[in-house]
């Protein structure tokens, strides 16, 4: 029984990471209809920057902050220089262009930090025992951070004027532009925030795994699964599906260890075939015609 409760806590941490990382992908698709393969670049760079800062100063939380910053800067550059040229382009074109940017980014990572995976020390190594069950504190903190980010993002989207303009822009871009709102600017701001959050996700995930140049590849598919399961473009759906996917990976892995790797793909396969719009997706987005 203890094993299962610990697994649930691990799953919460994993789900938090998945949510933070997938947000840029989800927002990129929901707002700009661009399938953004290079969103994992912010995650990779965030993890590496937090590794460097951690090594130099020893302060993990400053590292996480810098990771947010580097993610935001990269997001700004990519959005203004690349993604704007890709609106209304063919899907094949956007996928290949963003993927090649991802490859270039990985090349830079290899150039700066080398090929070998780097370990990052766990900032909070404590296990708290509650009713006889040992709970890893760090995973709980990660989950809380993700929850706070979710609350802030939903508040921003639903309570502020800018957020309402964004939501309206998702539905009908020309009408929002007709009201005199600069949609491009608002999209850029949103995208920069989302990519910063992805960088933060990378920094938070760094102590739980080895930081390597190819860490983005594995996460890319996982975050795609999360976004599709939740429904493309829906923040609520992404959060819920990240929670579910975290549990699927963690509980599945406890049940039979190879399941931790394969269960997400099984879920993805079934979701695309049975409910391709995801939990909160727009109807008819997935079929041809």
């Amino acid at each position: 029984m203890d094993k299962w409760i610990t697994a649930v806590i691990y799953g919460l941490g994993q789900g938090g990471i998945l949510f933070l990382v997938s947000l840029a992908l989800s927002i990129g698709y929901g707002l700009m209809r661009v399938v953004n393969m290079e969103s994992m670049l912010y995650y990779t760079f965030g993890a590496y920057v937090s590794y460097t800062i951690m090594k130099v100063t020893g302060n993990f939380f400053f590292g996480a902050l810098c990771a947010f910053g580097i993610g935001a800067i990269l997001g700004f550059i990519v959005e203004t220089q690349l993604l704007r040229r890709l609106y209304h382009k063919e899907m094949m074109f956007t996928v290949s262009a963003t993927y090649s940017v991802f490859l270039i980014g990985i090349g830079f990572v290899q150039f700066i930090w080398g090929l070998n995976p780097k370990p990052v020390a766990m900032p909070i190594d404590k296990m708290v025992r509650i009713i006889g069950v040992s709970i890893p504190v760090y995973r709980v903190i990660v989950f809380i951070v993700a929850a706070v980010v979710y609350v802030l993002i939903t508040l921003m989207l639903n309570r502020t004027i800018a957020g309402k303009a964004i939501m309206a822009g998702v539905d009908s871009r020309p009408q929002v532009e007709a009201l005199g709102i600069n949609v491009n600017k608002i999209f850029t701001v949103t995208f920069v925030i989302a990519s910063g959050i992805a960088g933060l996700g990378g920094a938070l995930n760094a102590p739980m795994m080895m930081v390597g140049p190819y860490m983005g590849f594995d996460m890319l598919l996982l975050s795609f699964i999360t976004v599709i399961f939740g429904g493309l473009g829906s923040v609520k759906g992404t959060a819920l599906s990240a929670l579910i996917m975290g549990q699927v990976m963690s509980l599945g892995g406890t049940l039979w260890s190879p399941l931790a790797f394969i269960a997400p793909f099984l879920v993805m396969f079934i979701v695309i075939l049975v409910r391709p719009n995801g939990l909160f997706g727009v109807k008819g987005a997935s079929y041809a015609g």
Binding site: L115, M268, L273
Partner: protein, 349 residues
């Protein structure tokens, strides 16, 4: 009838787009001859040229999906590894004939397209991309963990001793295998050229450009896409079996997800949707990789930059560049011919 074919150029049998008109049968012959000659000029690069031949078949399979149907798949390594394993498992556990192993891989490709085709091709392109990626991950898992009893997992299968030598071209011999690959590539290029010129190729392109219109005209677009998917998967599995026989060794790394991008990039470099794009893509991609690996240990940066440049500047890819040059030569020839004719006329007057 002629008036109809003139007004609807895409559907007429001989009314093809201007850049396709000079697709004479000489092109595949020249390409294959050039590859064969260059293998004898650079004798120590033979493995590279064999790989180019096999990879070209694989890229041509992906080109049917990407170029003709407009579907990007990130799961092509799965089809490749199914073909490789169907050949390898036969050779390692059942029989000794290389040709039967190849035939088995083609059967496996047809089987795959029958099982997955109807499910996958209903999906819109981004979902098609991702469900193939998921399939690829599950296939990797299957070959690595589930079927570890027959596939030996990550250790792979070795079976060079079990392969029987074949008459005329001994496929156990590398230089003979090179010639065999070239012959196979030539035959596949001819078939591919026939498809491209026929109504089927026009139908593929029509589905890509405007599927609703095709349906409205009265085509069954589902069947067209299914057929395209089938051709792609058969070409991929066949390329897989060639890999398996060439190396006499197969392990699950052939079907890794991260390798899915190679074939997509190669298709882009060669020229999406063009007849000889697959060949040029394979040559360009493997050539760049071979040259770059002399200087840098990793190729991601260079390949990424090249892909971006190709995407934004040379949307026709390498084949687009080549065909624009040949097109210019042809046009110049035609122009000089016209000038000469007009001079002659003047002289007569």
């Amino acid at each position: 009838m002629t008036s109809i074919t003139n007004t609807v150029p895409a559907f007429g049998k001989y009314e093809l787009a201007p850049h396709r008109r000079n697709m004479s049968i000489l092109y595949p012959i020249v390409f294959i001859l050039l590859l064969t000659i260059s293998r004898y000029i650079f004798p120590n690069k033979m493995t590279l040229f064999i790989e180019v031949g096999i990879f070209a078949i694989y890229v041509m399979g992906n080109n049917v999906l990407m170029g003709y149907l407009g579907l990007v798949s990130f799961g092509q390594p799965f089809y490749l590894s199914v073909g490789a394993y169907s050949a390898a498992l036969y050779l390692a556990h059942v029989g000794h004939s290389v040709y039967i192993a190849m035939a088995l891989s083609i059967v496996a490709g047809i089987g795959l397209s029958l099982v997955f085709g109807p499910i996958f091709i209903r999906l819109r392109s981004s979902y098609f991309t991702l469900i193939n990626a998921a399939l690829c991950a599950m296939g990797l898992f299957m070959f690595e963990k589930l079927l570890i009893g027959v596939t030996n997992g990550n250790d792979g299968l070795w079976y060079r001793k079990k392969m029987n030598p074949t008459p005329i071209l001994n496929l156990k011999n590398t230089s003979d295998f090179f010639l065999f690959t070239m012959i196979i590539l030539f035959i596949i290029l001819l078939i591919y050229r026939q498809i491209d010129r026929s109504a089927l190729g026009a139908m593929f392109r029509g589905v890509r450009v405007n599927e609703k219109k095709m349906e409205f005209i009265g085509f069954n677009t589902f069947k067209i896409r299914w057929l395209g998917f089938g051709i792609a998967s058969v070409l991929s599995t066949f390329a897989g079996s060639l890999y398996a026989i060439n190396l006499a060794f197969v392990n699950p790394s052939l079907g890794e997800n991260s390798r899915a991008i190679e074939v997509v990039v190669a298709t882009l470099i060669g020229g999406v949707g063009s007849l000889y794009g697959g060949l040029f893509g394979a040559l360009g991609f493997l050539g760049i990789k071979d040259i770059v690996s002399n200087f840098v240990s990793r190729w991601e940066l260079i390949v990424g930059i090249i892909t971006l440049v190709v995407l934004f500047k040379f949307s026709g890819g390498l084949w687009g560049v080549v065909s624009s040059i040949t097109g210019r030569i042809n046009r110049n020839k035609a122009l000089t011919r016209i000038k000469e004719k007009s001079k002659m006329k003047k002289k007569v007057q």
